[in-house]
Symmetry: C2
Subunit: 460 residues, 2 copies
Amino acid sequence: MERSLRLSGYIEAERDRIIETLFDYLRIPSISSQPDHAADVRRSADFTAALLYEAGLDNVEILETDGAPSVYADWLHAGDGAPTAVVYGHHDVQPVDPLDAWTSPPFEPVIVDGECRARGAVDDKGQVLYEIEAVRGLLQTEGSIPCNVKFLIEGEEEVGSPHFEALLERERERLACDVVVVSDTGMWSNDVPSFCTGMRGLVAFDVHIRTARIDLHSGSFGGAVPNPAHLAARLVAALHDDAGRVAVPGFYDDVRPLLPAEKESFERLPFDAEQWREMAGTVALVGEEGFSTLERIWARPTCDVVGITVGYGGLGIKTIVPAEANVKVSFRLVADQSPVKVADAFERWVHEVLPDWAEVRIERMGGVAAALTPADHPAVAALRSAIGRVFGTEPLLTREGGSGPEEALARVLAAPVLYLGVGLPDDRFHAPNERMIMDMFWKGLLSAGELWHDLRATLS
Amino acid sequence: MERSLRLSGYIEAERDRIIETLFDYLRIPSISSQPDHAADVRRSADFTAALLYEAGLDNVEILETDGAPSVYADWLHAGDGAPTAVVYGHHDVQPVDPLDAWTSPPFEPVIVDGECRARGAVDDKGQVLYEIEAVRGLLQTEGSIPCNVKFLIEGEEEVGSPHFEALLERERERLACDVVVVSDTGMWSNDVPSFCTGMRGLVAFDVHIRTARIDLHSGSFGGAVPNPAHLAARLVAALHDDAGRVAVPGFYDDVRPLLPAEKESFERLPFDAEQWREMAGTVALVGEEGFSTLERIWARPTCDVVGITVGYGGLGIKTIVPAEANVKVSFRLVADQSPVKVADAFERWVHEVLPDWAEVRIERMGGVAAALTPADHPAVAALRSAIGRVFGTEPLLTREGGSGPEEALARVLAAPVLYLGVGLPDDRFHAPNERMIMDMFWKGLLSAGELWHDLRATLS
């Protein structure tokens, strides 16, 4: 770590207090999916508010929603021409089951071998805290921040942010900004700093196929009546062509291709496909022809059947022709694909593939567009430069294959999203023994501090 | 009913007693699938034994098995050159759920509108009773039976006869016979008497396909890892070709075609396809091209997937790529198809259809060959003539699409099987308000009495 970075001295002086604060934060079991932890989630919101207040921010406020509360605070004294940023993170955490797989209790944080072990260490309290401490450090050591900063720390991210978009709409004016900084993602590795520029979207369907009122005896009827298992199979088998491409007409029409810089960045990542396959615990790597594994999971739209349920699923056999089938189909979308357009195309296609006489009912679920910050956006250059100074090497570009509230942030606030995150792939997100490597934590804090200067320089 | 039939007078004289006996038999809740009814199944065996004893049969014996008991009795005084027959039926019954759908309690038989309502009325106590009464009547009125008769009344038919074949093997000598008379099937309708000449066989498979250790996150992995739902669909979709034929190589190689007499008989049955479709409660009739509905369910081998279970089956969606799939596949077989040969071909084919890297495990279940009595067998002529006299019109030939213990009877005892049964399609077999139309019961009794004379004439 270079001594010349702006917050190196602050960290030196405040290290023990910051660790104590982190531990206090992590001790709150703010599990948003479990109703009996609702009071803890509120306590965690209050604690977040106190951190923001002590850091020197103004207008600290608990923002109520129809679910768990978010926390708001701002510092708007950066002066004429300074850009304004919203910092997003979340103070709720995942459940802890199976408890006996933890080497230390999930809500009794410890630092062992340089890593802080606790639920929420990396997802996301640790990452929220270094953003707050970076602002606190700048205010304490320099008396000001180069940008106007607005914190928005959510309390329901781990349950799919059900009330977050409504909150954004309601607070749209107060949250007006030039850029969003999301502090909830990760890097390739300690040696290979990186940041992502986008996440995939999602749209999903529950397809119900019925061919009879009730299950029929396969001896008396089999061979002369339709079998919805066969129809479901025909549908699912037709989803992909022989090249692994999604066969729904028009599916790829609007897909935005990778920029050369992104493609090159993906190729420079030290990705070992065989190691990744083993980590995934799968028997093979397959997918759309003509694309690498990283392109397939980050930058290409995909279709996966999440479940098929037809007929008898118990032990042995039952002599029936089933009456109905359920197929759950999910699509991951990439930039410029419209969830509505894809959904309409899929629903039309289902009715084309299945015979007219089948009773087909399709429920549409989800419908989140992909979030993508163009790799050539000036804010991306700022993030690249801030991380580069802290890590001593230029970060590579990645993407995330999943979907989160980032698309709503970008869309409702009409601002590009930057992903500053220091989680590592083996930090056990959502799993027992979640951890934050403390070296990454301090680098995250330094990067957050640097970023405000770079953003001021590029966005003013 | 013609007055000239041998047992008309017997029925006239004994009608009330026979109905009382039927009621007493039906009052025993001999549900073989429910362990708490085991004592009732035994009581039902004892009752059957008493009926046989009172009818005048010899060597009445409860035959113990590793499950519920069967009942044996014989009458072997028909003299030189007389053929010997085994009469098969069962004294156990189906469960009665849903109880509140019954118009009268299932084990409190009543006669309403000429039909006896009770569990077991038609399946199979009613049909066992008229066989016993026919023998009793002949012994009472004529002092002898034209054939040697051996009764074998099973107690586990409704749970798939798990110990029946072992019993046949054990008692093979005692059961030696020239013909088997099964009294457990039905006719086309009251106006259109018929009997079946065979039942389909069955072989089934539990196919397990695994592609990963655990379900994977569809955002992080989807598009680059295999999905067993897609493989299961590929397998099931490939089971049939566009003409509705089973695509497993060699599947049809040994299929015995219908005899012209059978084909003609099928065509003479007053079958209304649209009415049958409505009765089945299905949206369409489909199947192997080039065959009628009756041919498809009776005389053609078929393949039906009984169940597919992959991934998430609850409400909404789950963002996973499933790790494993289960597909249950059943084949109904017809005469001359070997279950083992079909099973071997299917298992080879599965491994050809699925990629090498998929972990595939196949469990074989069942494995019963079809049972078929050639329509031109002399015993068939005897049954045709007996039924024809009672109903006043020549019966047509049918087949049954299901599978039962008949194949084991034919194979182990090396004898043709005759199906004398008076159940009607809407007698609610296995359902609430099971019934026996009493007119059919008396005709069954008369037919059973006639049959011994016809068999003596044709088989001696």
